[in-house]
């Protein structure tokens, strides 16, 4: 075969395809679009988060009924205004020295942790980066906000949901919010800095920055 013939052959083929190409090309485009949308919206969130079970399926609703002071009965403020956060074993032992009820989870808790004097490695949904110094006293004591505003109705839950940990950043999915697009319907759906800033701006709290004319940084970071 001469070189010339070869060239002809190729060009013939191209012309042939050109004629019928418009359809498949759009098909390919749509195919690509759909695949990436599926990956972006469905597969990506599944891969991004690892799912971890809490060590004990704690029943907030049950405990809430038994205590007098609501959330602050266990998640209390200390006298110096600092916030105790997730209760330590010592607090739980006050009631759970022995098994109280018939729940298997409680039995696990008492046998695995109380008896062995091991702290429960709770996974904290609202854990913020180490550079965040959030003042609970300013929000709860001074501003009189409800826990629900930021934490949602976790007090009514009968078990602890799966902890979804971001494989990249290491923080809980609850910080970005369940909605992967970042939309939120309730105030407690997200716990990013923008959400803090939004509320501060709305209420004109600490809008002291010279650089941004918005929130000052030394309010939560230091």
């Amino acid at each position: 075969m001469s070189t010339n013939e070869k060239v002809n052959e190729v060009s013939a083929e191209t012309t042939e395809q050109d004629d019928s190409a418009a359809g498949p090309i759009i098909l390919f485009f749509i195919f690509g679009l759909v695949v990436s949308l599926v990956i972006g919206w469905v597969v990506f969130p599944k891969i991004l988060y690892s799912r971890k079970q809490q060590p004990v399926a704690f029943n907030h609703a049950l405990h809430n009924e038994l205590v007098d002071e609501g959330c602050e009965s266990c998640h209390f403020f200390r006298e110096d205004g600092s916030y105790s956060g997730v209760p330590k074993l010592a607090q739980c032992i006050d009631c759970h020295e022995e098994i109280q009820g018939e729940s298997a989870e409680e039995q696990k808790f008492v046998e695995e942790y109380v008896a062995k004097e091991r702290e429960v490695p709770w996974l904290v949904y609202s854990r913020q980066p180490d550079c965040v110094f959030f003042s609970h006293a300013a929000h709860v004591k001074l501003a009189g906000m409800d826990c629900v505003t930021c934490h949602g109705p976790i007090g009514e839950s009968e078990s602890l949901k799966v902890y979804e940990e971001n494989r990249i950043s290491g923080y809980s999915r609850d910080i970005w919010g369940k909605n992967i697009a970042g939309f939120k319907r309730n105030t407690w759906d997200r716990m990013k800095m923008d959400d803090c800033a939004e509320c501060h701006r709305k209420n004109n709290v600490n809008q002291n920055s010279v650089q941004t004319h918005k929130g000052g940084c030394f309010v939560c970071h230091r």
Partner: protein, 737 residues
């Protein structure tokens, strides 16, 4: 359908569009941004409940009250206790860095035994059994007096337990680390007939005349002196500093009077000359409450007129006269002495000369004066019952010669020990205990000290840290550090009132350490017989609580007990001398060699300069080594990389061709070192100044190997009057490299 280039591109574009319309890139960017702020190898301190516990700092004899801030079970910071009589909220550099000693890498974590030059871990029982065996053996040979103990203090329950142990075991050789405490105690004893501690009411004085004391550089109780100095200033008081070098104290004084080092006593006598000659002394006090004034008058009038004193000291006559007048005319003048931090006892005659200035102006046991503070008396344990071996042992003369004919007044003469050991065939000490002291670093002429310690067959260190002495010991029985143990702090040096502090455990011991008090009780119990009987307590803590009796509750509650209403004894009852008066001189003082400025060791031809040390608050120079924060705070004109800078006057630098910041060789009769030169206007010509507290060989990589150790360059000079070390410097040569 074939996938060609165009359809592939189409697919990719579709994919890109879809990706852009999905949260993936935006979420990913955000997550990566957050990830980039995670530094997993950077520690994140655990949060927790904050609590404050009161205690007392034992890192120096200052007796400061501290508040220990804990977060959960961690000790996070030490702060000064507000309202504490000594430090009222303030704290010194060393105290503030105390957490670094607790958690630092230089702790001894378990008992260690040296086997063929290497450390081997050993159990507490085995370690104590070994000591007991050695001690029983010596006792059965009738040699109990060959056991000795070096302690940082002789007051308080722990030193007293060691002392009691030696006594009932049969050894007189309990030795306290020497310091100006020795000289002030002797001075008060000889002139006032009292066994007491010197207290200084600096805050209420109106003229402080300091003969080289580092009032704001760690002299006596450092923080108390800082506060008192500020109060003095607020009240419009004046302070003059007599010192060859512009120390920080000199810089912060109203007047710095440069003086030839070692001649301070002569200046004091010269001032006395002017005061007496001009009849400026306190007539009421001198006439009614003193004796020996005429003899003293004759001494200073004949021997120390300003022109002669000027020749000795290098201070001009006008300054001497003016100073004497100002001092005597002040309402509350107070003369103090003891160079720098006061770690060298100094010349007894110098102390007497300076103390008599206070007597001349009648500022003894007065507001704003020097007070005789009674020694703590709360330890009243039953007399020990001694067996024959112990009685025989106790009749032996002390190894250091204290109390002997040659040194009748000294209680302890640790400074003489190295020479005594080095000059004997076999060491007169077979077993040596070392507690809260680091003699192998803190004593002059480190080479001679090392040689002496080498000769002692069995050295037991009770140190919490791997200090120079511990490193060279045969056995280390690590004590808890002060944040892990109970201990009474029986006094605050230089504080004008009796005060007892309580150091208490704020944290469970981190390592396999034991309270030295408990160790001594256990050793005694295992030795059995009368020795065990002398220690009836189950534990040190029980002993302490029983000893402090009715003060215990207050001590636990407040962290200290103080005698608020104390005031020093009235002149009519203050003096327990034969004449019941203050004695300018008496038979005992007359029997001592007369005052003579002590010369620095070394011959002038070979060593044309004189090396003097200085102290700094940023360098711990006692038995504790500076923790990292302290070394970090040291000025770059004192230490650069691992080189120490020695100060010389520009004139001296010129004379010897020395350049600022350049290396030089420093030679003394005792050693030599490579140093850097700092040309400094604030020092007299002919001198070289070097900081204390550097040149450690122990205490780990943050301290060891930095700078040069002053004690390696100097030897002791025995004070002919007391037997204590009175060296203030040594002749030296500084030459270009």
């Amino acid at each position: 359908m074939k996938i060609d280039r165009r359809s592939f591109l189409s697919f990719v574009i579709g994919g890109a569009a879809g990706t852009a319309l999905s949260p993936l890139p935006w979420k990913l960017t955000d997550d990566i941004a957050i990830w980039s702020q995670n530094w997993p190898w950077t520690p994140v301190p655990q949060k927790g409940e904050v609590s404050y516990l009161n205690s007392t700092c034992t890192l120096c004899p200052g007796g400061c009250g501290i508040l220990v801030r804990k977060v959960g079970e961690r000790v996070v910071k030490l702060e000064g206790m507000e309202g504490h009589p000594v430090n009222d909220g303030g704290l010194c550099t060393l105290g503030l860095a105390g957490t670094q000693l607790l958690y630092g890498p230089t702790r001894v974590k378990t008992p260690l035994k040296k086997v063929n030059g290497a450390w081997r871990k050993i159990s507490w029982n085995a370690a104590i059994a070994e000591i007991v065996e050695k001690l029983s053996d010596l006792r059965s040979k009738g040699l109990p007096h060959t056991v000795a103990c070096i302690s940082g203090s002789d007051r308080g329950t722990v030193p007293e337990l060691f002392n009691r142990f030696l006594t009932v075991y049969g050894s007189p050789n309990f030795m306290r680390t020497s310091s100006i405490q020795d000289s002030y105690e002797l001075t008060l004893f000889l002139t006032q007939g009292v066994r007491a501690m010197a207290g200084f009411d600096v805050a209420n004085a109106d003229f402080i005349l300091s003969f080289g004391s580092g009032l704001i550089e760690g002299w006596e109780s450092p923080v108390y002196m800082f506060r008192a100095k500020s109060t003095l200033r607020e009240n419009g008081g004046r302070m003059d500093q007599i010192e060859p070098r512009l120390s920080k104290t000199a810089a912060k004084s109203d007047k710095w009077i440069a003086i030839s080092p070692g001649t301070e006593g002569a200046l004091a006598l010269g001032l006395a000359h002017v005061i007496i000659k001009e009849k400026l002394y306190n007539k009421k006090f001198v006439d009614t409450y003193t004796s020996g004034f005429e003899a003293h008058k004759k001494l200073v009038i004949d021997g120390y007129p300003p022109d002669i004193v000027s020749k000795i000291t290098g201070v001009d006559t006008a300054t001497i006269t003016a100073l004497a007048k100002d001092f005597a005319r002040a309402r509350k003048p107070l003369a103090i002495c003891g160079r720098g931090k006061g770690y060298i006892p100094g010349s007894l005659q110098e102390f007497l000369a300076i103390h008599t200035l206070n007597a001349l102006v009648g500022n003894i046991n007065q507001t704003g004066g020097i007070w005789a503070v009674p020694e703590p008396d709360y330890i009243s344990w039953p007399e020990v019952e001694m067996d024959k071996i112990a009685s025989n042992g106790l009749q032996q003369e002390r190894v250091d010669g204290a109390g002997s004919k040659a040194y009748p007044y000294a209680r302890y003469l640790l400074g003489r020990l190295p020479e005594v050991i080095n000059s004997s065939q076999d060491s007169p000490i077979q077993v040596l205990f070392v507690t809260t002291a680091n003699p192998m670093y803190a004593m002059p002429d480190t080479q001679a000290v090392a040689k002496a310690f080498e000769k002692i067959p069995f050295v037991v260190s009770f140190s919490s840290f791997l200090d120079e002495t511990a490193v060279n010991a045969d056995l280390i029985l690590p004590n808890h550090v002060f944040l892990e143990r109970y201990e009474d702090v029986p006094a605050a040096h230089g504080f004008p009132k009796p005060i007892i502090g309580l150091a208490r455990p704020v944290i469970e011991p981190l390592f396999n350490t034991q309270h030295s008090g408990d160790v001594i009780i256990q050793i005694a119990n295992e030795l059995g017989g009368p020795i065990a009987d002398a220690f009836p307590w189950d534990s040190y803590d029980a002993c302490l609580e029983e000893t402090l009796a009715d003060k215990w509750d207050a001590l636990v509650e407040d962290g200290y007990w103080s005698d608020e209403v104390f005031s020093a004894a009235d002149w009519s009852t203050a003096f327990e001398t034969d004449s019941a008066k203050f004695e300018f001189t008496n038979e005992d003082i007359e029997s001592l060699p007369r005052y003579n400025p002590l010369k620095a060791k070394g011959d002038e031809a070979h060593y044309p300069l004189v090396l003097i040390p200085y102290d700094s608050m940023r360098l711990a120079s006692g038995h504790i080594g500076s923790p990292p924060f302290l070394i970090k705070s040291v000025e770059d004109y004192i230490l650069t990389a691992n080189d120490v800078l020695v100060e010389v006057n520009p004139a001296t630098a010129n004379e010897y061709g020395l350049k600022d910041g350049k290396y030089a060789f420093l030679r003394t009769p005792k050693g030599n070192a490579r140093v850097k030169v700092r040309v400094f206007d604030g020092i007299m010509p002919g001198l070289v100044a070097i900081p204390r507290g550097l040149g450690h060989t122990a205490f780990g990589r943050f301290l060891a190997g930095k700078g040069v150790h002053y004690n390696a360059l100097i030897g002791p000079v025995e004070d002919p009057a007391s037997g204590h070390d009175a060296a203030w410097g040594i002749r030296a040569k500084l030459s270009k490299t």
